[in-house]
């Protein structure tokens, strides 16, 4: 069974088309890199899959549950970490974890929570309110909260922003580990090196439309067949190339 099924997803705001007719599936254990230029519809797709935005048209299925009809079951299976994590400023890190454990009805969550905050080097700040935390630390707290309930689907929007090298390594390792355990993980990032390093599949969006969806293995094989020695960056620029801009000054 696919962890995520997106069928003919459309999202429009008045006359602006954010996403048009997007369809794809993600199997458990996949790490999908969602890439595209600014305004391509990456965050809209993630926010819709997280249940924050309603699709204008189409179906979104998470862990076998349609978000339109079984939103609670679908949300229980997923975790979404936005690019700028917003925490309850006056709650401590531990209280955030306590709330998440309660929301997802977890029993005996404390040892795992302790392990998480140790992994992400937050032990010293365990009882500090989140208003005092740096951008990177807030990101770590959001990731701990997301990991705590063992979601089957995880979505990261620019996960490495503001993190130190230790945290970057910890996150990369944890993502690989979770994928190996069967979680489907979607990562939206402009860092193509991260996608190349971490992801097993890639989905490139441009102006709200899918321009490529393939596994990294398929891409490599195709490149060999075509005899092209193309990096992911070259591929990205080739597929999302903007038409040459003509300016009145230049004309």
């Amino acid at each position: 069974m696919s962890a995520i099924i997106v069928e003919d997803f459309h999202k429009t705001y008045d006359s602006t088309v954010a996403v048009a007719g997007l369809s794809f599936e993600m199997a458990p254990g996949t790490i999908l890199g969602l890439v595209g230029p600014n305004g391509a519809g990456k965050t809209t797709t993630m926010r819709a899959l997280a249940g924050i935005l309603a699709p204008t048209r189409g179906r979104l299925i998470v862990d076998g549950h349609d978000l339109a009809t079984e939103s609670i079951q679908a949300k229980a299976a997923l975790a979404y970490i936005p690019d700028d994590p917003r925490l309850f400023d006056q709650l401590t890190i531990w209280e955030h974890l306590r709330f998440v454990a309660s929301a997802y009805r977890m029993q005996d969550w404390q040892p795992y929570a302790e392990e998480l905050i140790k992994t992400f080097e937050l032990t010293d700040k365990r009882d500090s309110t989140c208003s005092d935390l740096s951008r990177g630390m807030r990101q770590k707290v959001a990731i701990c909260c997301a990991y705590l309930h063992h979601p089957k689907v995880m979505m990261f929007d620019e996960p490495l922003t503001g993190l130190d090298p230790y945290a970057i390594r910890a996150i990369k390792e944890s993502i690989r580990k979770r994928a190996a355990e069967g979680a489907a993980i979607m990562i939206s990032s402009h860092l193509l090196s991260l996608i190349e390093d971490l992801c097993t599949a890639i989905l490139i969006l441009n102006k709200g439309e899918k321009v490529l969806h393939a596994t990294m293995e398929e891409l490599r094989r195709q490149a060999e067949i075509d005899g092209r020695h193309e990096s992911l960056e070259d591929l990205f620029f080739r597929l999302t190339k903007q038409p040459e801009a003509t300016t009145s000054e230049g004309a």
Binding site: G51, P85, R86, F88
Partner: protein, 549 residues
């Protein structure tokens, strides 16, 4: 409600208390909290003493009039809610709530219950405070508190009900309906206003006319359910209290039931609108609390303000603040209009009814200058709006006093401009007191420079975000009071010098013009007095330690 949401509510309440204690636990915070507590005790004691000594005298309004006009007042609020409902979300969620709750395993109804409960809890202390304000007309403190709670809950539920109902129609249809309703209401108001003005001009009694409208059978019956709320507030016995309280409670319960039955799909609308609202609040916090600087619309600037001369470094600093202020010109104009209608309108109306007296120009000029106390609060184009940019200012290769002078000039100039515009309107309407314009033109600049300087000094010594982050933050309220008293004291001391020397000059020469010139020169001198102090405060401001959270 979901157990996790109860837990969140409990944790947030605990966190709120923790924050208050933390704010009050620093030396500055403790002093500010003590000031606030002292003043509140003094206020509370004066209220209780006034009530005990002479209950009738301390009444603010006639309870019968409250019963009578409370319902039309509430109806006006409801109309305003209907007319403005498209412009704001029915309920607001914080960014953290959106992140954790909207993606969490919660139903819409659970989230709505959580939000309604949060709002209700916030209404509780506010209602208890308002019960003190209503003391003059209330039957008892309990009836006032319960009445206030019912009224605020009603307004909140009514707003949500209107918004949820609107979401059942298309946005276009709803906006059309609102436009038609707005025109109809304006037309009725215009006709009613014209009739009232005509009767008033013919010597009619305005209050009696309003009473006549309210006594009209149709109006009276339509407003009966709303009258229950004011009857609860003014009830003096259980018998007077029971029925209206049951009726008002019934309306609130009905609205609650209606909102739940609708089960509107509010998540997307609310998340988008809430994010905008919180982004605006965040911009306001960064910009010194000025609502004018919180606009987010990106726009192409076609007309550039030319650079000012260098003036030893003052010019570029002044230019930057001037450009920022100039870019808020729409809001600036709106403020002039609002202040014009609010302050100048009644003044003109009053003066045209009275005979012009010799002291009138001085009176109006004094009023205009006193306006400085409030005007530049909205024009914080100085250190107050640069709390996150002080480190940039500190890196500039300029002496502190020149940076300070550049920072203080923009609000000074703009505040003076507002006053000059308003006083010119008075002059244009009344015609005879042109002296006003001259007095305000001469005194506004030094007077405003003095006030802006004092405000910036207080800000750099007691830095804070102008928008409080914690509701009910007593240390923040205390700080505002200290700043206000400090400003008044400094103003008094600063005005003393020109006053004394102007007076002595007049006593010696018997010439008011010479005395005026001496007083004005001293005022100009005094207006620059805060600059060295602000420079010292700017130099000692430690970005790492003093930047407020």
């Amino acid at each position: 409600m979901n157990d996790a949401l109860w837990l969140l509510l409990k944790l947030r309440l605990k966190a709120w208390g923790r924050r208050l204690v933390r704010n009050a636990s620093t030396v500055k915070g403790a002093i500010m909290t003590a000031v606030f507590a002292l003043l509140m005790c003094f206020w509370g004691f004066s209220l209780i003493a006034g009530q005990a000594l002479d209950p009738k005298k301390s009444a603010t309004a006639d309870p019968v009039a409250v019963q009578r006009f409370g319902a039309p007042g509430l109806a006006m609020f409801c109309i305003m809610i209907v007319l403005t409902s498209g412009a704001r979300p029915p309920v607001l969620f914080t960014p953290a709530e959106i992140q954790f709750l909207f993606c969490g395993p919660f139903s819409r109804r659970q989230l709505l219950t959580y939000k309604l409960l949060t709002q209700f809890l916030m209404t509780l202390p506010f209602s208890m405070f308002m019960a003190i304000v209503f003391r003059g007309v209330a039957g008892s403190y309990l009836s006032a508190a319960f009445g206030a709670l019912l009224i605020f809950s009603f307004l909140q539920l009514f707003g949500i009900a209107v918004n949820f109902t609107a979401s059942y129609f298309s946005a276009l249809a709803y906006n059309r309906f609102r436009k038609v309703a707005l025109f109809a209401i304006l037309a009725v108001a215009a006709v009613g206003g014209a009739i009232l003005v005509q009767r008033y001009a013919a010597g009619g009694d305005l209050l009696q006319m309003l009473k006549d409208v309210e006594s009209n059978t149709v109006v009276y019956n339509v407003l009966t359910p709303l009258r229950w709320y004011s009857q609860v507030v003014t009830a003096k016995s259980i018998a007077q209290f029971s029925l209206p309280a049951l009726g008002a409670l019934g309306i609130n319960v009905f609205l609650l039931f209606y909102v739940y039955v609708l089960d509107a799909k509010f998540l997307e609308t609310v998340s988008t609108a809430s994010e905008k609202v919180y982004a605006k609040i965040e911009r306001m916090r960064r910009s010194g609390g000025s609502p004018f600087q919180s606009h987010s619309q990106s726009r192409v600037i076609r007309r550039q303000v030319p650079s000012f001369p260098f003036w030893g470094g003052v010019g570029p600093i002044f230019w930057r603040q001037f450009v920022t202020a100039q870019r808020t010109q729409k809001a600036f104009l709106m403020m002039v209009v609002v202040m014009g209608i609010g302050a100048i309108g009644p003044t003109i109306a009053m003066l045209t009814k009275q005979n012009e007296s010799a002291g009138m120009p001085w009176g109006i000029a004094g009023m205009m200058l006193m306006m400085s106390l409030f005007v530049h609060q909205f024009l914080a184009f100085d250190f107050r709006a640069d709390v996150d940019r002080i480190e940039v200012l500190k890196t500039l290769p300029l002496p502190a006093w020149r940076i300070v002078l550049g920072q203080l000039l923009a609000p000074t100039v703009f505040a003076s401009l507002v006053q000059l515009v308003l006083v010119s309107v008075v002059y244009a309407v009344l015609g005879k007191i042109g002296l006003l314009v001259a007095i305000v033109a001469l005194c506004a600049l030094p007077f405003n420079l003095l006030l802006v300087g004092i405000d910036n000094l207080m800000f750099l010594l007691l830095p804070t975000r102008m928008v409080a982050t914690t509701p009910g933050d007593f240390s923040h309220a205390g700080r505002q009071m200290v700043v206000f008293f400090g400003r008044m004291l400094a103003l008094f001391l600063a005005m003393l010098l020109p006053g004394i020397f102007g007076g002595i000059t007049y006593a010696v020469t018997r010439n008011p013009y010479v005395a005026g010139v001496v007083g004005w020169l001293l005022l100009v001198l005094v207006s620059f007095a805060p600059v060295p102090f602000v420079s010292w405060a700017f130099r000692r401001f430690d970005v790492a330690r003093d930047t407020p959270p």
